[in-house]
Symmetry: C2
Subunit: 574 residues, 2 copies
């Protein structure tokens, strides 16, 4: 491609509303343009990258035996009524509309309803299962506050797949196959990523995994093991039970703590570490009106974990102060598990402590050297807190560290959630109708483009891995308008490279100085740059620079195209 006949739309200024690198660089590099909040045009340079991402995903999905279909953007509301999601889908993210006949439709943010409708119509026999339908398609979520460019857009492209099964074993096989597909896709794009447990459940047998590309700008925090493959969203990571403290039990003391109503002020008042105290949080219960949750002073309650416990009302609700005073007899800030009349649920770490500090259930008094069994009882011991860095990894290998990630994929065992609601059955060997089990597997296609940049950029611009670069090589002739030799040599190299199928951009734009062309090449992140100048031509060489490594060298013109054909082949297959 010759730049003079292409649209290179680079900008010098960073757009004011672009907070993250990918958003800034996609706009500055002329890859995308904002049309409305969270809605973007793809310019030629950006669309080349998007198509390459799509192709890699399509190749890996096809290789797994998944079948590509295409479902509409505009979906009838009645299917969503049937599945029960019309009224309540995700906090108003469903953009509803009416056609000219006043019938309800929505713009599809996801396609479980439509694909289940296809499955219940087209699949009739167990012989047709398992099957995995996928599409690469435009979706719409009416985000309240779209931001970060392609990372949280309203109109975006997803690869979404939906599998159908006779039983959970078959579902599990396809689920693991999709795990491999996602790993292949992200590996081929040379991304540093982690499959992350997206479920509170125990290790193994998980039925939901997120795939995160690691990047400082990520919105999610992921807990990793220092010594194993374990990774989980911190909201979901299990805080394992520590060994019970074996310290000798000291004598219980009751101490006045005037004005000290927080863990920090109590610790300061008593001159002890917060990790030797516990906090007692009073929440609404299911059987009992109130329930006490006991957490170590330096830990944080994890509401998602707490509200899953049978004694705790879901969603989690903190008790009101008046209610606490009425039932317990003291105000929040002086409560503790000792002698408490309501059910006591202790976090595992709190239950492992000995000689700890807690409220005395008398205003402005605390107990010191409290010990479970002797001074207080727990009705149950649960995992109730967020993990922190340094916690042991739940798989028993190493300790946890935190990193930021961008979720680019999510695989999910849906079971019968939709197939049951929409009566999607097939006949088994005996002619009996069986509700199919379902899996769903999403991958953010446009989001991946941004995630790649978050990992591959520097202060000069993007640094595309060759397999997804808009062009593989850029040729910049120096002052070609003054030197017919330079123009001719650049054109010869361009043609011979094209002849070998190399995706090469010849920057023959008039009215742009070499410095501006160099800056554009770096901004757009073309992996290989070749500069053709009069000085080099005297020795039959060109200047070469590698965008990823920053290395540069002079290369002989003779054999240049085969040299790069080999390099690129290696990069495409690495």
């Amino acid at each position: 491609m010759k730049a003079s006949r292409y649209t290179i739309a680079t900008l010098k200024e960073t757009p004011a509303d672009a907070e993250v690198a990918s958003h800034q660089l996609l706009i500055r590099g002329g890859f995308i343009r904002k049309l409305a909040s969270g809605i973007y045009n793809w310019l030629p340079m950006g669309l080349r990258v998007l198509h390459k991402v799509e192709r890699i995903i399509r190749e890996e999905m096809d290789a797994s035996g998944a079948l590509e279909i295409s479902m509409p953007v505009v979906q009838p509301g009645e299917l969503w009524v049937e599945s029960g999601r019309w009224a309540e889908y995700d906090d108003g993210l469903l953009l509803k509309l009416k056609d000219r006949h006043e019938r309800d439709f929505c713009l599809g943010p996801t396609h479980e309803e439509v694909v289940t409708d296809i499955a219940r119509t087209e699949l009739k026999s167990h012989r047709q299962l398992p099957i995995n339908f996928y599409q690469i398609q435009t979706k719409f979520r009416d985000e309240t506050r779209p931001r970060f460019g392609l990372l949280r857009a309203r109109e975006f492209i997803m690869k979404d797949a939906y599998s159908f099964h006779m039983n959970l074993k078959s579902l599990d096989e396809t689920y693991m196959a999709m795990h491999r597909v996602y790993s292949n896709v992200l590996n081929r794009m040379q991304l540093e990523f982690r499959p992350v447990d997206a479920d509170t459940g125990a290790i193994g047998g998980s039925d939901s995994m997120e795939f995160h590309v690691l990047a400082d700008s990520g919105e999610d925090t992921i807990a990793f093991s220092t010594e194993s493959e374990y990774a989980a969203n911190i909201e979901k990571a299990e805080a394992v039970a520590p060994a019970k403290s074996e310290a000798q039990h000291l004598d219980l003391e009751k101490v006045a703590t005037p004005g000290a109503k927080t863990i920090d002020s109590v610790s300061e008042h008593l001159g002890v570490a917060t990790a030797t105290t516990v906090k007692t949080l009073i929440v609404k219960g299911t059987e009992s009106p109130l329930v006490a949750l006991i957490i170590r002073g330096d830990h944080q309650l994890n509401p998602l974990k707490a509200e899953k416990m049978p004694e705790v009302a879901s969603p989690l609700q903190m008790a009101e102060d008046t209610e606490i005073v009425n039932i317990i007899g003291c105000a929040p800030g002086s409560i503790g598990p000792s002698g408490l009349s309501i059910p006591v649920l202790a976090d595992r770490s709190a239950y492992a402590m000995s000689n700890f500090v807690c409220g005395a259930n008398i205003d402005e008094f605390h107990f010191v050297n409290v010990n479970w069994g002797r001074d207080a009882n727990a009705d149950a011991v649960y995992d109730l807190r967020d993990v922190i860095e340094g916690d042991p990894s739940p798989d028993g290998k190493g300790t946890l560290v935190f990193k930021k990630g961008i979720e680019v994929g999510h695989i999910f065992q849906l079971g019968e959630k939709y197939s049951k609601a929409m009566n999607a059955t097939v006949l088994d060997e005996n002619g009996k109708a069986i509700v199919m089990s379902m899996g769903c597997y999403g991958m953010g296609v446009t989001r991946l483009v941004a995630a790649i940049i978050e990992q591959y950029h520097d202060d000069k611009g993007m640094k595309w891995p060759t397999i997804i670069a808009p062009f593989q090589i850029i040729i910049i002739p120096i002052n070609a308008h003054k030197s017919p030799q330079v123009a001719e040599a650049a054109d010869d190299i361009y043609k011979s490279m094209r002849g070998l199928g190399i995706e090469v951009l010849l920057d023959d734009r008039e009215g742009h100085r070499p410095g501006a062309k160099f800056a554009d090449a770096e901004l757009m992140g073309i992996p290989h740059r070749i500069v053709v100048g009069e000085r080099g031509l005297k020795t039959d060489t060109v200047e070469y620079a590698n965008r990823q490594t920053g290395e540069s060298s002079d290369l002989p013109i003779e054999g240049l195209e085969t040299h790069f054909r080999q390099i690129i082949d290696r990069e495409l297959n690495s």
Copy 2:
């Protein structure tokens, strides 16, 4: 692909609402499924065809130098307000919606506004022109009555391109290049088609052409020359001026025509051919309140032509009876050009007549042997009528015949319509801002899939040309469940063909009898069918049948894959 791991979703019954062959066969063949009125799912078999159509279009567009971009489905209403189309676009086909912040958006039925917004932002210099942006993208038109399956759907896929130019000469060049691209695309799909003048204008220099695939089910009627390339929509085809009759002028007679108020009744009453009479139609004028249009008795007024004449009010409005009686003094049915007090506009064919019959402007009286000049005057002579079969071709070669067509493409010189309204300018050589000229070029991608079937089908099903067939070859083993040899031979052929890159479907479905598989293969229109049976294996042969020609033969298994590789290569490049 093995059919046991694929979704073959053929149906025996023709859906009740499917009126045309393509709609019936796409549903029956399991290529598409209706999700809602005018909204379809693409099943795996259909999507393969759709992708091939897209690929051919993309290849030809890229080869022409057009640049692919992608614009959103959801467009901000403000751009449509700016262009002036928000309030009035095409009779309510624009589906409008509001986002959660109550801002106006629409689902894009076309993208002139968005692309003009891109052009005015990204294009700055004459050096960047000409440029031609295209996309292959989902569009939505809220049709009142969607029907004919993909031929008039609400959600559909278009290839739409928009070019920008410094002047009309450059626009004309790109317009002609797009003419060639469209011809190439349709030729590669082996379609019988015609580029059709979509403009009333004279021959040559046309600024709008439609591309029609010929098919009896077409909604448009096209007039063709028997001896040249001339083709035009009948509404747009020019009725050329015939030679003036040189018959001797007979004496004018006034005859009573009691009760005869139509051309047919007058002709019958007088015992003359309708072609010797004229009808006088009174319509509203621009300067004069009423204007008379004179058309030969057997011809039909063409309202599109009439309303373009300076004397005639646009849109065309017929005069009311009371107005006619007040001004002319007689009721419709007895009016004629002789002695008429309002402007008289004669159709060319009517003006070439001599000794004709017309109303006498006295109730229930007509004149016979009327002659222009002697008995009546025309203020102007225009082309005002529809062409009829047998008319001379406007290019002077041959006569016109009519055929039905399906419009699959439309190329259009827009000029400055959008670029002026939206102030899309670039700087010329002297630094002066120039409003760009624009062209637009649409091609119905999903509609093409249907149009191909309208040309390529019989009573057994579809008959795909190989280049767009979902699979190139289908292998049907006979009773493979009883014969391991058959199963093995079929599998060997399948594998060796796949090894050569042939797109082959092995129909290994259990529980389907051979007859049902044959019927499915014919319904789905796979070009080449190979049947592997025990009888043939004894002589190392298979049975072959060609879906297009119906020919069949026995072929040796040895070298079968290379034999078909050659045939298919030839078919793909024909």
